[in-house]
Point group: D3
Chain length 322, copies 6
């Protein structure tokens, strides 16, 4: 049975043999206690992650050792289950042939819709009327150099927005939340324009801090320098290219990028020094925390308990009823 999405597999398929094209996210050869080799695999497609075992290693060892994370493979496997979780036992596996699969189609993706998100970007871009600020956005976001990455990168390595278009979705959330606060609290037009620019740019450097999907992890400069420095550095250089960039806007926008983690202990080298920067910081936490809880709860498979397990970055469990 050829299946299109891993999420189609359910407990009705136990003992069925399935065929699928999946992405390997992790592969390890291990030894049983009685010295038999087997392979432990983590697989995914855009719809789901799933665990698998391959017990016939000996005859395939070289092939298995040659496989790497982020390769697409075609598998034949038997659906199993043990105490609640579905697990595959792989019977046959081969590299997906070139042209047979688009890796992109195996990567989890924002469910907001790219067209809708582009309209969102346009909406906020249009609010920015000051020419120097528009130009800053043009050069940082809408240039050929960056737009592709900006619109496809994830916004985190795990927990929240760690999917295709994740950064884009996160930026739009931050812009929406910030804009509601800004209009409710009657910020001036100039403050609002700056806040929008800061929303666009605050996590911009994640396009250099992370490796592109399906990889997940930091680049060397990401670990050594961090997106906060890298983003403010690039922004300042682009500002210098723009003739007569307003000096106060410059300081406020850079402070907003540097300060958007809100506290020194979260990696901001300076605190937010304007009301815009403070709004940006809270909107950023709001976006990350809400998405963390929602995605964590949607992945929680066990429906017998009233509460999820503990979500590590939030420090608590969540109520699943209601």
């Amino acid at each position: 049975m050829l299946i299109n999405k891993l999420s189609e597999i359910n407990k009705g398929n136990i003992n069925d043999q399935i065929e699928a094209i999946v992405l390997i996210t992790e592969i390890k050869l291990k030894l049983t206690k009685n010295e038999k080799k087997y392979a432990d695999l983590s697989l995914q497609d855009a719809s789901k992650k799933i665990e698998a075992k391959c017990w016939e290693v000996d005859e395939n060892e070289n092939f298995l050792l040659s496989l790497k994370a982020n390769e697409a493979v075609k598998i034949k496997a038997v659906v199993g289950e043990y105490q609640g979780s579905i697990q595959l036992t792989i019977k046959e596996m081969e590299r997906a042939k070139e042209g047979e699969v688009n890796i992109r189609s195996l990567i989890p993706t924002s469910d907001w819709g790219i067209d809708s998100m582009k309209k969102g970007l346009q909406f906020f871009y249009d609010k920015v009327q000051s020419p120097h600020l528009r130009l800053l956005l043009d050069l940082m976001i809408f240039s050929d150099d960056h737009y592709e990455r900006f619109s496809t990168y994830p916004a985190a390595r795990r927990v929240h927005h760690n999917f295709y278009h994740g950064l884009l979705q996160h930026v739009l959330e931050v812009l929406k939340f910030s804009y509601t606060v800004a209009t409710t609290k009657r910020l001036t037009d100039r403050q609002i324009e700056r806040l929008i620019v800061m929303g666009f740019l605050h996590d911009w450097a994640k396009i250099f801090e992370y490796k592109p999907l399906p990889e997940s992890g930091f680049t060397e400069e990401g670990t050594m320098l961090g997106h906060i420095f890298m983003g403010a550095h690039k922004t300042l250089n682009v500002m210098k290219e723009i003739a007569d960039f307003d000096e106060e806007d410059k300081l406020i926008i850079l402070n907003g990028i540097l300060g958007h983690h809100g506290k020194l202990e979260f990696g901001s080298p300076v605190l937010p020094k304007t009301v815009e920067a403070q709004i940006l910081h809270h909107a950023d936490i709001m976006s990350g925390d809400v998405e963390s809880i929602q995605s964590f709860m949607s992945e929680d498979g066990n429906n017998e308990e009233s509460f999820t397990g503990r979500l590590w970055n939030m420090g608590t469990e969540y109520y699943k009823k209601g």
Copy 2:
């Protein structure tokens, strides 16, 4: 010269004699080093706070000793200034006669407009369609027992929303911010209704935690029990009065009220355990922090410095340019 608002006084009035009706917010008799008595007063009307001295104490000592905070007085005073700040020297002072002044008119008040705020309340109330939740709001907010206090109390003793209608404005801010997040993040209708109810009720018990304006300070039960306990306690009792109140809604709403400070060290006895409760918490901080900065900056009189002083609850200074 009779003046209507303290905010009318400016440096052009130095040495003018003015007459005004003001509220005493603090009065202390002190001794100069050469044993001369004088009185230090803090005065306000709805527009401004101002400091004053009265040097002729001896002949008026009994009258001065009889004055208390939150009394309205009619003063004649000379406008002075020393190194930048306006200060009054009181020449004559008498208690405002009954009927001569409405204390209410001397208290700082939300500039949002009560009609507009009532429309806001209605907007969010209308989003709550579940009968048991509507009834909860009817009994907690829109009952004769509480509506007067709910719609006039401040939401803090100082720093933010510490003015007439302050609680109401804060609740509306929290509702607006939460609602934007809830719709953006596609919460279910049931989640949204609960979040609105939690927004209405989270600080409800401040109407018993604080003394009414123009007093500022905690009631005894406010200090001993706190608004978090008092609010959840009352809400639970009202829920019990409502036939067949949904059990999950009950736990989630109460957890939202108990958890709205977000962390144990900020006085929540339990953490937020739902996405609604987490949104409420961030919207609450957003409202308080943004108002803190805005009101602090608007009171900062000295225009020679680029930065304000340090805002104690935010731990930093703010940039005044831009």
Copy 3:
């Protein structure tokens, strides 16, 4: 060999076959690396916890899958040992028949003796002379609605007082410690009466926060609301039922319940605001910490080391000599 208590088994019984009636506290089916199923069990009776394996799963799989935590079973097993710890290999197992065993007899129980503890309760109850405070205790503790639970529940899920009558023993410890402090430090009779009432009530709501033994874990309302809120809430409602309950006693007792964890970061929404509340807090910690260390050290089986392992809630190891 039929044994009455698991604690009777010692290293002299290695390779003996024993029969016993025990409670399952955990059961999991697992797979060896060569795909053989086996069951891992945690068993206990009132005297001891013990680990067991069952290697013959295939023929019994349905029976094993049907077993749940907190069921009593009759087992035949061989006593084994490997590098120091006794472990059972189960050969036969069947559900205990109705009437064959009282689950209660398989649960660890306070060794203080229920009669002695009842005398203790009476002693402190007799010290409370004020009618309204007596009535509060009558309704909260000595009523048919609560006495059964109050006198049998544990006071914690693990580490200390997590046994039958555990709450009762903990309350008596807190009362004894508090009373010594109160008389030594010459508190007034009124303060002492309030302190006794607070000692009785501070953890009262654990009878709704926890599931009854032999289950161990939180109820839904326990996790969502916590015993601090639930206890103060119920106490306040009972106080309101009592005619003319003294207002100051009300605030002080409620503050004592709310504040008994001593610091906000430990889950008290307000700090202790009276000397009675502070005594209660320290007596509560004293009881929990001392019991933690004693029970941890009594379970430590390895007598070759001078120190125990690290006790997680105390953050250190303990000296076993002396």
Copy 4:
């Protein structure tokens, strides 16, 4: 009017001239803004502390400059009051003549009674039956070298037990609390003996850490080394003098002294590693905190407020009603 105790002065004495013998605890010469010198004094006797001014400095400047803290003086003064607090205006002042006053009678003193406290010491000493532990107490406490200091020193510089016999009272409190816990929790006789010894010795070195009353402050070695090190150091040396001092008792008692502050951040270089040491720690905090609150509340003069001010070492205010 000659008065015997400063606490006799009340608002009925305003404008009376009084005579008294008092201790100077602080004296400072200051300049009024119009360059007139005056003296600010803090005075006390065993019953009360009081503030005083002396306006006639010029003719007495040399005498005033020669006065030091902790000298006894005879004063004639006029009783004054301003906004609630009694204050003296000194008209005449001279050094108390030798023999005219016993400084000791001007120092606040434990109200427990020295005879009663000696009985307390004997009670706990008698519980210690092991010869080596008795000998340790004999040499550390009941020797001619230390008993005088041990029985008269304060246990703190301020806040709690900072009075004559303060250390003795604190030690007895710790012993009483610890002993109740030890018997309630059924410690072995050996544990109880060690706990009593630790109670006696834990703060012993305060007799070298502080200056003797009426001075208040640290000695040089007190600041540089602290009573925790100094006490354990001396105790270990005395143990070495005792033939065949049990090795385990040695480690446990020293660990108890070193660990009695309970956490590294409170100055204990090691954590408590036995149940005795943990009991000692909690009994020590209990004694200090309860006395802090009681003495703070008894000094709070203003009866118009429901709450005291904030007690700095406890971090909160206290409720004065009830």
Copy 5:
């Protein structure tokens, strides 16, 4: 009597009239309680800071109001003293005429000697053999754009190295300490070269973060962006100008600058990720802390106490004997 250095004034000069040229560091007009104006001044020259009063304000008010911090004035004053501290009473004051004084000579200055410090710079510069690293130092430090500021600025606003050449002295200290560690711990030549470059550059941006002496305070960009960002930003731009700048050196040096505060909570947006960066961090703290204690103790005037007061940034007092 014309004096050359304020530090020449001693208690033997009481009542002498002196003449001196000094820098005003603070001036405030104040009102005595009996409404007489006076001026409070803080004065300094390179040798000492001193407090002064001017009682004759009325006739000079316009002149006094026109004076600003950091102006040089010629004063005639009477030397006074009250309870230990020398204080001046100004009798005459006029602005120092152009050419009459070099402001520079009134500013505290490193006592290391500029020639000696230049030799130190050269010593470490010579250790850097890699052309791209040399060029980096040439462009950042030894260029006409920056050398003047780099060699004269202070390294802190207060407490340590807040004097002329302070940054230079601090950099040399950091280089010396680091170099000893690097050679002792056998770092490779490449690591040592990088460490030297990081020592030169870590606080480089203080030349834009602070205002030049005698002013003391942050520039706008200093407060909004901070020297950590500004320094790494400029360094990265200069690196980009250097052909084929080694990529690993780039990341390591930038990480060293960004991480030199050692922990996020001290304002580093990333942690030190190399052994060089960790050495730099500890050498930086060593230099700041040691200088803090030395300068604090040298300013402590009161020789009657064994300990200084509490040094705010170190959190403790220091022993003055020995």
Copy 6:
């Protein structure tokens, strides 16, 4: 093939049979899931640590159970590898005969060279000219009672300087770093002498806190009392033996030992109260942190990643390039 150093084994030896004399650092008998016994061993010699398995347990069980950590054994084993790490499969094993091996030669050792380190000790000893300080060093360090231990013990149980001569190397590092700071910052000769003495003595008591190598772990008194107390205690006793030991030196040196962890939360019961003590503290951290990073990076075997794993005591990962 007889090998001399485990570090000689490399991937070219896969499937070779080797013979070696090694030290067992850990041995555990375990059960495979199909109930087959095997042994897990950690082995080392001076050059390297290596993991090993022994599958033939049954016939050798008594011998294996008799083996303990820190025994030397002669093994024949086959070199294997699985996914990158070398691992041995033991075929034959016997206890090394007496005389066949010197345990000492199997323990990792400082690579500084003992002669060079002795010269270092002499260099710093010669800087101490004051007779009472020299005598203190003679009695504490260079006496027959302590020199053997002092010159061979490790300075930590793991992470840094946990090798033969480790304490000696650490002391020399601290002395070198301190001395550079002291001369750079122009401390007086007396301060420098004290600082050297403090460098020699600060960790002295580790010779009683740890068990001797090849054991690794704390002695009972080490855990109960700690090296900070034990070192200051012994030092004070030796000072008392020295006639007329300067009182200020005594307090300063003891404070330096007690305070060398720099903060209470790191186990110092008092803070450093002199500039010498502060220098000592920073030099101590510098030595430990730098060695931690260097030894951690040298053990990191995997060369495919740009960064090491997280070093637990430093809280971060390190960059391996450059």
